[in-house]
């Protein structure tokens, strides 16, 4: 056998044992988009890119991706739109259940349930996406816009969410999370971190929602004890959209005009934000006030630290029972920061902002707000050491650089 043939055989052999090179699967809008796009998402192999061409994909059912290391990439949040206004089935527009997935540069419109959900999808990156219910705030809109749950390492960067009847960006029962550079408008909750551990929420805009940014912990869930959440460098203004959530949802209890709301979480830091024009209050720290049966659940907020936020007008129209009376007693306006008093003095938040702060004096979080015995909260002299910054795997950061 000549040398040249040997080389040829060797190359052929190595082609057999090497995995195929990552490929790009192009999908265009037009007839049969539902089946063509879903088939591409199924046919994709780890490392592949499913590239959505520009235009409007008219979809009839939810889409799903269950292959690790796949990127779904459009031509931009205004250029490539997955249109679910004709959706007939499935609980969300796009469901991701695999790891190391990147979703970038496309839009999801008018899904019947949630917009994009990722469950048990570790190291997922949401980048430059638009999720929108185009009719604006309506109770008939889907619940969550961007919805990672039960995941480790979540990056949400430069997304826009509008119109969610629950939370625009919702991270649930996850850990190690960054939400940044994003915009949430005209949702009930702009951004919500729920039953999650270790989250940084920064450099976002939350405006014209009912509540701007929420940090919640709820009972009777597999992961409870939410803690270590930092909210900083955000602009949280004019969250005055009348609450349009269906009544049974927990966010239906968020008073219209709330900037930041912390409920039953531990170790939450709120600093360097610009917060204002929120008619109920700028920052609210409360316990979980509903009856529950769950011995493992702690309904009290603990170790909440607030400093260096820039406040403008707040509290001129508090939307909870007894709020108007308290505001009247205080000269017409509710304070920019309040704590319900849950758990008593030992659990009071540390506050170093130069604005009026109030305790409602309700040591039992289930007590009616109408029975409040408000007392001012003095500025704290010192605060504990800060939480460390969230660090995601470098491979995730590289994707959005």
């Amino acid at each position: 056998m000549r040398m040249r043939d040997l080389i040829f055989v060797g190359a052929a052999l190595s082609a057999l044992v090497q995995p195929a090179y990552a490929k790009t699967i192009q999908v265009a809008p037009g007839a049969g988009a539902q089946e063509r796009l879903q088939e591409a998402l199924i046919a994709a192999e780890p490392g592949d890119i499913v590239e959505l061409q520009a235009g409007r994909f008219a979809l009839t059912d939810g889409l799903s991706l269950d292959v690790d290391r796949v990127t779904v990439k459009g031509q931009g949040g205004l250029e490539t739109t997955l249109d679910f206004s004709g959706q007939q089935g499935a609980g969300e527009g796009l469901l991701v259940t695999s790891d190391d997935v990147v979703l970038r540069e496309f839009a999801v419109e008018n899904s019947k349930g949630d917009g994009i959900k990722s469950k048990g999808a570790d190291r997922i990156v949401y980048h430059k996406l638009r999720v929108e219910w185009t009719g604006g705030p309506k109770a008939t809109n889907g619940a969550y816009g961007i919805y990672p749950v039960e995941s480790k390492d979540v990056l949400i960067d430069s997304v826009l969410v509008r119109g969610a009847s629950d939370a625009g960006i919702y991270v649930g029962q996850s850990r190690n999370i960054i939400v940044r550079n994003s915009t949430a408008v005209e949702n009930v909750a702009g951004i919500e971190i729920e039953n999650s551990f270790d989250a940084d929420v920064y450099d976002n805009i939350a405006a014209h929602n009912t509540g701007g940014i929420l940090v919640f912990d709820l009972p009777n869930l597999p992961q409870m004890g939410g803690h270590n959440v930092r909210i900083f460098g955000n602009i949280i203004v004019d969250n005055m959209t009348q609450n349009f959530a269906p009544k049974g949802n927990i966010v239906a209890n968020v008073p219209t005009g709330t900037g930041i709301m912390v409920m039953a979480n531990r170790k939450v830091e709120i600093f360097d934000n610009v917060i204002g024009e929120n008619g109920t209050t700028n920052i609210m720290v409360v316990g979980y006030r509903f009856p529950y049966e769950d011995t493992k659940y702690d309904p009290l907020p603990r170790d909440v630290v607030i400093w260096d936020n820039q406040h403008s007008r707040a509290g001129w129209a508090p939307q909870f029972r007894g709020g108007t009376e308290i505001a009247a007693a205080m000269g017409g306006s509710f304070p920019a920061i309040f704590w319900d008093g849950a758990g008593g003095a030992d659990l009071r938040p540390i506050i170093q902002d130069d604005v009026m702060a109030l305790s409602l004096g309700l040591t039992d979080p289930k007590a009616e707000t109408t029975s409040a015995q408000p007392v001012p909260l003095a500025r704290s002299a010192s605060r504990p050491a800060s939480l460390p910054a969230i660090i995601l795997p470098e491979s995730m950061e590289a994707i959005v650089r």
Binding site: Q34, E35, R36, L37, Q38, E39, L41, I42, A43, T60, D61, G62, S64, L65, D66, Q87, Q88, G89, A90, G91, L95, T97, S111, K112, G113, D114, K119, G120, A139, T140, N141, G142, A143, Y144, Y147, V149, E150, S165, D166, Y170, G172, Q173, L218, P219, N220, L221, P222, P246, K247, G248, N249, I250, F290, P291, Y292, E293, D294
Partner: protein, 338 residues
Amino acid sequence: MRLLLPLLAIFAAAVASSAATDNISEAAITDAANPAKLSDFGFFNGSAAKPSDRLIPYELRTPLFSDYATKQRSIYLPAGATVSADTNGRLIFPVGTALIKSFGYPAASGGLDVIETRVLLHKASGWVALPYVWRADGSDADLRVGGKRVPVTFAHDGASSSISYSVPNKNQCKQCHSVANDIMPIGPVWQNMEFPRKSDKQRIAKMVPAFAQLQPFARWDASDDANLDQRAKQYLKVNCGHCHAPKGSASNSGLFLDGSAQDAAALGIGKRPVAAGRASGDLDFIIAPGKPDRSILIKRMESTDPGVAMPELGRSTVHKEGAALLRDWIAAMPAKTH
């Protein structure tokens, strides 16, 4: 030449054994590549109405509701293979097993208009779920990994319904059939199974002697068979429990209807919704004891809106009889006094 003769003998033996298995291709079941046509497996002799004799047909005492479709279920066990079971009666099948389920509606001419056949294939790497859609002439069915919608008109209770029947895509198969992200069969649990052929039942019972100790599960629609609570819980287990389980697709809800619930809240009683969104309507609890009209569970069962309806997949019609059972069950619960 001397070497060739034994080889030929092996080849002949292989041909003989494949003939003995009624032309079912075990390679089609176990190979990594997924056959493009249902006929590649050899489960049917030319049409869905003619299953191979090698298939073991079975029925479920309480089945999953799928838009009033008629389902034909069967098991293909590799030649000489045996099954075992876990302590809950769930059958454990060897590699090479296939579970085959056809969906259709009664044809005007009698018989069944079969729309699709779903197969669960036990390969060495694990289970694989695939949907095959029958051609209009009924000659064969083609693999449709992306799923398909098929307009269907059927009669139920004297009334005619026209629906957009949804053949699930491959990922949707997994959504229901997933346990901790691996694909698993759902149906074959001994206590819920019936066998039209007595010999099949005896054969499997012989493989797993422990089955003799197990009591059959309730039939959801047979009030002389079990009490209301047993029937309702069995209905929930079969219709909801594959996702609403600690390792299922709806694990994050904390609502566990697979029989694992240790307290009332995990079963939905007095539990507030978590991620239901507008599906909660204006209701506060998944189950409000004594008040079916105030229970989100009933609201979602009685809806066909994709953002509200449960189960999320495979249902575009309300299961009136199932919803009625759960209404009765909730109405019979003592209302909580505060």
